[in-house]
């Protein structure tokens, strides 16, 4: 692919990511926030595609956009928060925040510019052919060379679920309706339907 085309695609996706990120924090309606986050994820998936990480890009869309953000949207909609009542201190802290933002952006431009990470220092990585399989490469290292961090990440997920359950589960309260599968399976038709035999009514003459 032509380098220029690639650059245009990169800046389009990168700009979209930054813009969507700004919208996430700037809009008042939480539903719009979530939708803007979806845009940010899709745009970053585009960036990953440029890096030839097709599998990760697709996973980002499937998992984050498809599952996580949908769940987020459900939660936000269920909580029924139309608009946040007010943004306390937004104006008050704005100058400080803008200053910090400007300082960090200036530092980043100064440090991560082409003079340090330009083509002179780092050559363009070679493009892979059409027969290159992203998933294959991942699969080769994930359970072999990277097995230790992989297991640690699994431990992290286990901790997350234990923590979430222990913080939110408050024991079965009186009056909570819940399913009892064993009783559901053991039920007989006689428990549910009562067949009443009754004489048919005589015809009423008009």
């Amino acid at each position: 692919m032509d380098l220029l085309v690639e650059q245009i695609i990169f800046f389009a996706f990168a700009g979209m990511t930054v813009l969507a990120g700004a919208v996430v924090v700037a809009v008042r309606n939480p539903v719009h926030s979530v939708l803007a986050l979806v845009v940010a994820f899709v745009a970053s998936a585009g960036l990953w595609l440029l890096l030839e990480a097709e599998f990760l890009a697709l996973v980002l869309i499937f998992v984050y956009v498809g599952a996580v953000m949908t769940l987020f949207l459900f939660v936000v909609m269920m909580l029924n928060i139309r608009e946040l009542p007010s943004r306390e201190g937004f104006v008050r802290f704005l100058p400080l925040a803008l200053f910090a933002l400007a300082a960090i952006v200036a530092m980043m431009v100064f440090v991560i510019g082409p003079q340090h990470f330009g083509l002179a220092q780092y050559a363009i990585p070679a493009h892979h052919g059409a027969d290159y399989s992203n998933i294959r490469e991942l699969g080769l290292v994930l359970y072999t060379h990277d097995v230790y961090p992989f297991e640690l990440a699994a431990v992290l997920l286990l901790i997350a679920i234990i923590a979430a359950i222990s913080l939110s589960f408050r024991g079965r309260r009186v009056g909570t309706r819940s399913q009892v599968p064993s009783a559901q399976i053991a039920v007989k038709s006689a428990d549910r339907i009562r067949i009443i035999k009754m004489a048919s009514e005589p015809k009423v003459k008009r």
């Binding site: 097995v147 230790y148 431990v155 992290l156 923590a163 913080l167």
Partner: protein
């Protein structure tokens, strides 16, 4: 692509811990209702088991495994032993309090063990990826443990602050690490260190940029000024047993993390990180000691004191010598022992419905239980750095290291504020011995706790009288 099965033997203690955590998780689920103490006893057995397994590795030559991601060296072994020992005492002290405040036993112990596992992974990391994962495995359970007292608004607020601050710190750390990765194209400590020392000064701007973020992340996790804001709120807001945990073993892990990141992976930037750390250490020592004077809440006072102690601990790293690192290691071991004793005393003073958290709550402890008062006295003397308690030798070690590194002004500042700090430690002693108690009932605790606090208090004085054994162990790590 060739692949050989990694050598699992060095990681046996971690594997044992993880397996046992899963066993406890299941056992507590099915037997926790009937046998109330099962989670506690199994937890302590696990810690003892892991301690013995690690002990068995002591003296083994340095070995890498899991594709150079896991290292077992003397530093890792010694700090793992310390972490396991401290955690054993922490759970022992907390048992009574957990029952009293009706914290969920099973979850509490499981999350605690996960945090211990995280510390072990962290101190054995030789790769940015495993270091970061270890850090998260350590932090995530701690956030949850702070919030375990669900009905308390203060605890939830503390947990929220801790979580947001922790996430921010992780983000900063990752950003800094990504800079080092960008230059070195490697996550491995030794490979990064090689590239860092070979980089030309023109290129080192990126490295310094990354280093600043890494140090900010480390300071956040350690709770050193100016990234200390969360420390007093978290210490104050969490259940005392969780404060006890947070203030002891994780500090050891935080020091090792700082050592691995700065000394092992960026030795070429020593001038730069020395300067940044100097600012952090001086700020921590000054701010911690001065603000602690104004506190009437003893948990907050100890929180500010911990900020100051982190500053002293960093002095050894700043010195940049092997003797300096050894003195930092000695400092953190003794600090976690003292901090553990101080919070354990608060746990023993608490009764159901009453939390000992103000300095006044210690009034007249001498007449209520002279032995406990003596133990607390020893711990306070040690924290203040008064000989012959061990805290004196810890401070002496780090000060000696900075003086030998020709940074005498730093030692003078540290010394002046150590004297300022002595005021608030001695105030606790004064309150215990010379004030009349409001509540004259005797303070009692179960036998195991009494034995533990006695060992803890006497260890403070014994190590102060005979410090050479522990100092020798710490020096052996770096000089051997």
């Amino acid at each position: 692509m060739t692949f050989t099965i990694p050598n699992f033997i060095p990681a046996i203690p971690e594997i044992f811990m993880l397996v046992m955590i899963c066993v406890i998780l299941m056992t507590d689920l099915f037997l926790g209702k009937r046998i109330k103490s099962i989670a506690y006893s199994l937890t302590q057995l696990t810690l003892i088991g892991a301690f013995l397994l690690t002990m068995h590795q002591y003296g083994m030559p340095k070995v890498y495994t899991f594709d150079h991601m896991y290292v077992l060296d003397k530093l890792a072994i010694l700090s793992k032993l310390a972490i396991l020992l401290v955690s054993f005492f922490v759970f022992l002290y907390s048992r009574e309090y957990i029952g009293m405040t009706k914290l969920p036993r099973g979850e509490y112990h499981i999350l605690g063990l996960f945090a211990v596992l995280g510390m072990m992974v962290l101190v054995s990391a030789s790769n940015f990826l495993t270091l970061y994962l270890g850090l998260e495995v350590l932090s995530l359970p701690l956030y949850a443990m702070v919030a375990l007292k669900r009905d308390s608004g203060v605890a939830s607020e503390a947990a929220m602050k801790y979580f947001v601050m922790g996430a921010l710190a992780s983000g900063m750390l990752l950003y800094g690490l990504s800079m080092l990765y960008g230059v070195s194209h490697s996550l491995d400590f030794t490979a990064v260190a090689k590239v860092v020392s070979e980089t030309s000064p023109a290129h080192s701007l990126i490295l310094i940029f990354g280093l600043v973020f890494i140090i900010a992340g480390i300071a956040f996790k350690m709770g050193a000024a100016p990234f200390h804001m969360w420390v007093p709120d978290v210490y104050d807001g969490s259940p005392t047993s969780v404060t006890l945990f947070i203030s002891s073993a994780p500090k050891i892990a935080a020091l090792i993390m700082a050592y691995r990141l700065l000394v092992e992976s960026a030795p070429g930037l020593i001038i730069q990180w020395q300067h940044v750390l100097m600012v952090i250490a001086v700020l921590s020592i000054v701010l911690g000691n001065v603000v602690a004077i104004a506190q009437s809440n003893i948990k907050r006072m100890l929180a500010y004191s911990s900020i100051a102690h982190m500053g002293y601990m960093l002095l050894g790293i700043i010195a940049g010598t092997k003797a300096g690192y050894a003195s930092s290691l000695f400092y953190v071991f003794t600090y976690s022992m003292m901090s553990m004793g101080a919070f354990a005393m608060l746990l023993m003073m608490s009764k159901s419905g009453f939390e000992a958290e103000n300095i006044e709550d210690l009034q007249g402890l001498n007449s209520r239980n002279p032995w406990y008062a003596l133990m607390m006295l020893l711990i306070m003397f040690s924290m203040a750095g008064i000989p012959p308690a061990v805290g004196f030798f810890a401070k002496l070690g780090v000060l000696e290291a900075v003086i030998n590194a020709n940074m005498t002004w730093l030692a003078i500042v540290a010394l002046i504020f150590a004297i300022v700090g002595a005021y608030y430690y001695l105030r606790v002693v004064k309150v215990m011995y010379f004030d009349d108690p409001k509540d004259a009932t005797a303070v009692t605790a179960p036998m195991d706790m009494r034995i533990a606090i006695t060992i803890n208090g006497l260890a403070v004085i014994a190590l102060g009288l005979f410090p050479s054994a522990l100092i020798g162990l710490c020096r052996n790590v770096f000089f051997g």
